[in-house]
């Protein structure tokens, strides 16, 4: 493959952004990084990125920007957007402000339902790609990611199926460095988005509220029961949305979750650090689609609302705490 066909920019240097940047770099692609913490970008410039954990690898980056404006001057062809879901709007606004390339393509690498719709406000559908990630890590240091799991494959699609050639190029690059990625069509990717979101929804807020690690939540019978019910509720809603899951889907999800590590999902880490969370894009979406189809989602509603109420208090938005 021609690894220099497109120049890649990665915005958002959390575990996902850094891991993707590393693997594209390793595949031989030209990669520009962009993060908003000067401390982090300086560290990456001088020491590179280090992946620890399951795989132990390092990579160096020549161009590391600390503003979107700076990155847009490097003439990237494809932007991998791996910021938090609730930061998408402001990042897209910045990209749009400084973009002179009408052919610029963008990859949505967040978890959650309805993410691609956010991009479609500013980008033509033919320019948007949806990426479903099946690996994860935690930050050990601003430039060090501890890889916690890689369960291939990842999925990528052109959201209106017009540019599956570009999706294929991205998938091929990642697959060449043992990060297996499959190209699927736009309907298939919606299914994968729901699948991944249901997995996230069943564990993330539960771990956040109970302060149990994913493995603990899966092994204590009381929480295991709730996890199964959360999945059942979400599957009901997905079916109403005409998502066709394989046979024994709930059992497959539970088996997958059994492999979860003895650490916290990122939503739990965000809540514990009193930061905003992605709950609106995970359980919040299941509740929203449930209402659309008049399907009750009491567990998802409970967790969505609990996380929201706690976050509001943490961020000083509860009027009674003042």
């Amino acid at each position: 493959m021609n690894t220099n066909k497109y120049k890649i920019g990665v915005i958002g240097l959390g575990p996902v952004g850094l891991m993707l940047a590393h693997y594209f770099r390793k595949a031989g692609c030209e990669v520009v990084l962009c993060g908003r913490s000067k401390n982090q970008t300086d560290l990456i410039k001088s020491e590179g990125v280090h992946l620890a954990g399951i795989r132990d690898e390092r990579s160096q980056f020549e161009v590391v920007c600390s503003t979107v404006k700076e990155m847009m001057r490097t003439n990237v062809d494809i932007i991998i957007c791996s910021v938090k879901a609730y930061q998408i709007e402001s990042i897209l606004h910045d990209i749009n402000l400084y973009n002179k390339n009408y052919r610029l393509m963008i990859v949505a690498a967040q978890n959650g339902i309805g993410i691609a719709d956010k991009y479609s406000f500013l980008f033509d559908l033919s320019r948007i790609f949806r990426f479903v990630i099946n690996f994860a890590g935690n930050m050990n240091a601003p430039n060090v990611v501890n890889t916690t799991f890689i369960i291939p494959p990842n999925y990528i699609a052109s959201v209106d199926d017009t540019r599956s050639d570009v999706a294929a190029w991205l998938a091929e690059a990642l697959s060449s460095v043992e990060l297996d990625t499959s190209v699927v069509d736009s309907f298939e990717i919606t299914k994968e988005v729901w699948h991944k979101t249901i997995l996230n929804a069943s564990l993330s807020p539960l771990c956040a509220i109970s302060k149990l690690t994913m493995r603990e939540a899966m092994t204590i019978p009381d929480t295991n029961e709730i996890i199964e019910r959360m999945i059942m509720e979400a599957v009901e809603v997905a079916k109403a949305e005409d998502i066709q899951f394989e046979k024994n889907f709930i059992k497959i999800c539970l088996r997958y979750l059994k492999k979860a590590g003895n650490h916290f999902p990122s939503l739990a880490v965000d809540l514990m650090n009193e930061k905003q969370t992605e709950i609106e894009f995970i359980n919040g979406q299941i509740v929203g689609y449930g209402r659309k189809h008049y399907i009750r989602t009491p567990l998802n509603l409970t967790f969505t609302n609990m996380i929201r109420a706690i976050t509001d208090k943490n961020l000083g938005r509860n009027t009674a705490s003042l």
């Binding site: 109970s210 092994t219 204590i220 009491p298 567990l299």
Partner: protein, 324 residues
């Protein structure tokens, strides 16, 4: 009946026990109190108990003991149990040789608490009280009364000792807190009503660490408080419990007015102590299963709280233990 002939013993000097002790003392009863916390009891012996907040009061106590055995040696006529629900079994161990002339009043909240007492005492000896005042302990012998103006109810659980219940209710009334003696079936209704209310806020406050005021100020938590109420009432109705019209709206109004109170179920969850959740949300889940009524919110809170407690007690999950 003359007040000075009946001697009342109160076990458990939490906020509810302390408030009750002061009231019965004010009513002129002979009151003996008991708690296993020696430091606390010595302080009460020297300084008495202080109530502040919605009522201001102070009483000294002549009979202060550290154990139930010691208390029973004082010829107690009515023993009032104000211990935490999960301490009831321990209390019952010391009541096995209870004299037939002694009556027991269970002042715990929660569904089916009396079933525990029935195992040790005769039904005709047992009374039950639904306490509709509340307070938070602000120092060892001081309680801030945060909720006071509703009527408390008490009664004999099989209507056999109604006279005793009437006498007690009258005494509490005399001290300023409204209290009514009611029949056993109406009493069960009141037990459910109170439990349904506690189940709707206790675990939400405990798990989210929001106090009642904060929880009532957020639309998100109000929504699940209401949902939990609806769910629990459905189960209660299947059990034949009667609610007044607009009960949910009344509950929400009551909770809005409750001020900065922290429900004790919430405090225990927040502090990682053993909780009474199995007698509130847990019971609602059980009765829901009995009547084939789904209780998704109650099961969520029951299970999350129990799993958190499990982790606190064991330090980890069963998985890790097996590995070591």
């Amino acid at each position: 009946m003359k007040t000075n002939k009946i001697r009342i013993g109160i076990v458990g000097m939490g906020s509810s026990g302390m408030i009750l002790a002061v009231h019965l003392k004010l009513a002129g009863c002979e009151v003996a109190i008991c708690d296993s916390d020696k430091e606390k009891m010595n302080l009460i012996r020297n300084e008495g108990i202080f109530l502040e907040g919605m009522i201001e009061s102070h009483s000294y106590f002549d009979y202060v003991s550290f154990s139930v055995q010691e208390l029973l040696e004082l010829d107690i006529d009515i023993l009032i149990s104000c211990v935490k629900t999960y301490h009831v079994p321990k209390l019952l161990e010391s009541l096995e040789n209870l004299n037939d002339n002694t009556y027991i009043l269970s002042a715990q909240d929660g569904i089916d608490i009396c079933q525990k007492y029935i195992k040790v005492c005769k039904e005709s000896q047992i009374m039950r009280m639904v306490v509709n005042y509340a307070g938070n302990i602000i120092s060892t012998n001081k309680v801030k009364v945060t909720y006071y103006n509703s009527i408390s109810y008490l009664g004999s659980i099989n209507d056999k000792c109604h006279d005793k219940a009437e006498w007690l209710a009258e005494s509490i009334n005399r001290s300023g807190h409204k209290c009514e003696a009611i029949g056993s079936f109406q009493l069960i209704d009141e037990v459910w009503k109170k439990s349904v209310l506690i189940a709707s806020i206790g675990p939400i406050c405990g798990v989210s660490k929001l106090n009642l005021q904060e929880a009532m100020a957020s639309d998100d938590t109000v929504e699940i408080i209401e949902q939990t109420l609806i769910e629990s009432m459905e189960v209660a109705k299947a059990e034949g419990v009667k609610f007044e019209d607009n009960y949910i709206k009344l509950c929400l109004r009551k909770l809005k007015e409750a001020g900065d109170h922290l429900p004790s179920l919430g405090i225990d969850i927040g502090s990682g102590k053993e909780t009474e959740i199995d007698f509130f949300n847990g019971k609602i889940v059980r009765y829901g299963k009995k009547h084939y009524i789904q209780t998704p919110l109650n099961i969520t809170f029951t299970n999350v709280v129990n799993a958190m407690h499990y982790k606190k007690m064991n330090g980890t999950s069963p998985y890790k233990q097996n590995r070591n």
